[in-house]
């Protein structure tokens, strides 16, 4: 029984991290209506970047985070302006295929530079338990992941609701023409949205790097997670994304309890497929279209 409780708790904590992985994708899909198939790979790129910077600065993850976020934002901005914006009004397939191409390129570039071995970001934050009770314990890194994720999501919510920047983004996702008619440069808003997505992805990337091992092909797995989070939680709905992450985390952990750890991922995938079949608009829909 305690094992199950522990797993449920871990599922929730992990869910926060998963939510943050899905955040970027939720933003992009919610606002631009496209799925960025390179989302997972971009995140892993930021993980590798953090690793390199951290090693350069003797394990200082804060500097790593800072530099990585800035670089990823620039990359996101460039990708949006020069790649995606060029095809965004040409139908749903071109952006999808371009991000697919980007995904291929990124994975292979990482493979070339770093090789296929699993890596990890060395950190002073450990997997030691920080809270221990007779019924369950909470590991330090899991807790930090969860807290950071909640903070980021709350911050983003605030920006979206109360700032002109956030309003411009919401307006653009609602009606492009009407937004332009009040002076909003919608193409640039798309670029900013992508930059925002990249910022959250790089934070998630750093946390992933500290918590798990990763390799160039890990991007695919997290792409599916991100998609899962977004689908389960409903598009463009920030709180829904959090809940989506938690549900995904829970289905993984609980699945592993009943079917064994090897089937952890598998359970997550099956839950996603089931939801896609019966309620593709997400469990907490109310968002666009």
């Amino acid at each position: 029984m305690e094992v199950l409780l522990q797993l449920i708790l871990n599922g929730i904590l992990l869910g926060g991290l998963y939510a943050m992985i899905g955040l970027g994708m939720s933003l992009i899909f919610g606002i631009m209506g496209i799925i960025n198939l390179a989302h997972g790979d971009l995140m892993i790129v930021s993980t590798y970047m953090s690793m390199v910077v951290a090693m350069r600065f003797s394990g200082n993850v804060f500097i790593a985070l800072l530099i990585t976020v800035v670089v990823m934002i620039i990359i996101g901005f460039l990708c949006q302006t020069f790649l995606i914006n060029k095809v965004i009004d040409k139908g749903p397939e071109p952006p999808l295929l371009i991000t697919f191409g980007l995904s291929i390129i990124l994975q292979n570039v990482l493979l070339l530079i770093f090789g296929a071995d699993a890596k990890n970001i060395p950190t002073r934050v450990s997997s030691e338990n920080i809270v221990t009770t007779p019924w369950f314990s909470i590991s330090e890194i899991y807790l930090i992941n969860f807290v950071i994720s909640i903070v980021v999501i709350l911050l983003l919510s605030f920006v979206m609701k109360k700032t002109y920047f956030g309003r411009a983004i919401r307006a653009t996702s609602g009606d492009i023409v009407a937004s332009e008619l009040v002076g909003v440069n919608t193409k640039r808003i798309y670029a900013y949205t992508m930059a925002l997505a990249m910022a959250t992805a790089s934070i998630a990337g750093l946390l992933i790097g500290m918590t798990f091992t990763y390799s160039p092909s890990t991007g695919t797995q997290y792409l599916i997670f991100a998609f899962g989070v977004v689908v389960i939680g409903g598009m463009g709905n920030l709180v829904g994304t959090l809940l989506g992450g938690i549900i995904l985390g829970l289905s993984q952990m609980v699945g592993s309890y009943f079917f064994g750890t090897a089937y952890q991922l598998f359970c997550g995938y099956i839950v996603l497929l089931v939801i896609l079949t019966f309620r593709p608009q997400g469990l907490f829909a109310g968002a666009r279209k």
């Binding site: 002109y164 919401r170 009606d175 023409v177 008619l181 009040v182 440069n185």
Partner: protein, 245 residues
């Protein structure tokens, strides 16, 4: 053709617009004087919305020139044209459904010069359309047709422009409401705002405007000071009675 001293606020010269292979506007020319209300009358498919869309940069002209305050705006993106001082209350209102009435109005004042005067502009809009103040916290999606139209015009006012283009503000609305809206437009015009009104109702267009253009199938077939245009002749032209087609 060349105005050395172009006193007109907005001029459209010899405009052709195509949708792919389909031509929508044929050699359209207009002049909008500052502080006037100009109406463009025509039935469905006459090209009125295309014209407004081209002025605001939503459509690209194939040929011709659009000048605003002596600047060529033919190939300029919409948000830049808005920044220069032209905006539109689009066909169907197109309010931001998931935002509240007040947020919609806030968005109207997105650009810096409007944002600075936001409170003042907001007060003015609420003064003109009290129902918007009543419903300020409500989501735009729950408004009635007439209220949406007022919101669209209010939002356009928040931009603090020099010219507001109104695309069929009366569509689907009860005559009482339409009358109210038109009175408000007149009031705003008296304070200096230039309006271009696109309409299908001949009588109303002639009544509330200073100058009128009649469009049939993408061409201007008739124009003149509204008071001087005989209503039945305009109606004939409107229905494409063949001497004007």
């Amino acid at each position: 053709m060349l105005n050395q001293e172009n006193k007109e606020l907005l001029t459209v010269e010899n405009l052709d617009v195509h949708y792919g292979d389909l031509q929508a506007l044929y050699n359209v020319s207009l002049q909008i004087s500052p502080g006037s209300i100009v109406s463009i009358i025509g039935s469905n498919g006459a090209g009125k919305s295309t014209l407004l869309g081209t002025i605001t940069g939503i459509n690209k002209p194939t040929r011709g020139k659009i000048t605003f305050k002596s600047q060529d705006i033919g190939s300029v993106p919409t948000h830049t044209i808005v920044a220069k001082g032209i905006t539109m209350s689009p066909e169907g209102s197109r309010v931001f459904e998931k935002m509240s009435v007040e947020e919609n109005l806030f968005m109207g004042a997105y650009l810096p010069n409007a944002r600075r005067k936001r409170q003042e502009l907001l007060k003015r809009v609420y003064g003109l359309f009290p129902v918007l103040k009543e419903k300020s916290g409500q989501l735009a999606t729950y408004l009635s047709g007439g209220q949406r139209q007022m919101l669209a015009i209010g939002r356009a006012l928040m931009v603090d422009p020099e010219v507001i283009l109104c695309d069929e503000v009366s569509m689907g609305l009860a005559p009482v409401i339409v009358k109210d809206i038109y009175h408000k437009i007149r009031e705003i015009n008296r304070e200096g705002m230039t309006f271009v009104l696109v309409e299908q109702d001949v009588k109303r267009s002639l009544k509330y405007s200073d100058y009128s253009y009649v469009m049939v199938k993408g061409k201007i077939v008739m124009e003149g000071p509204s008071s001087e245009l005989p209503e039945d002749e305009v109606k004939d032209a409107f229905f494409g009675i063949h001497k004007y087609a």
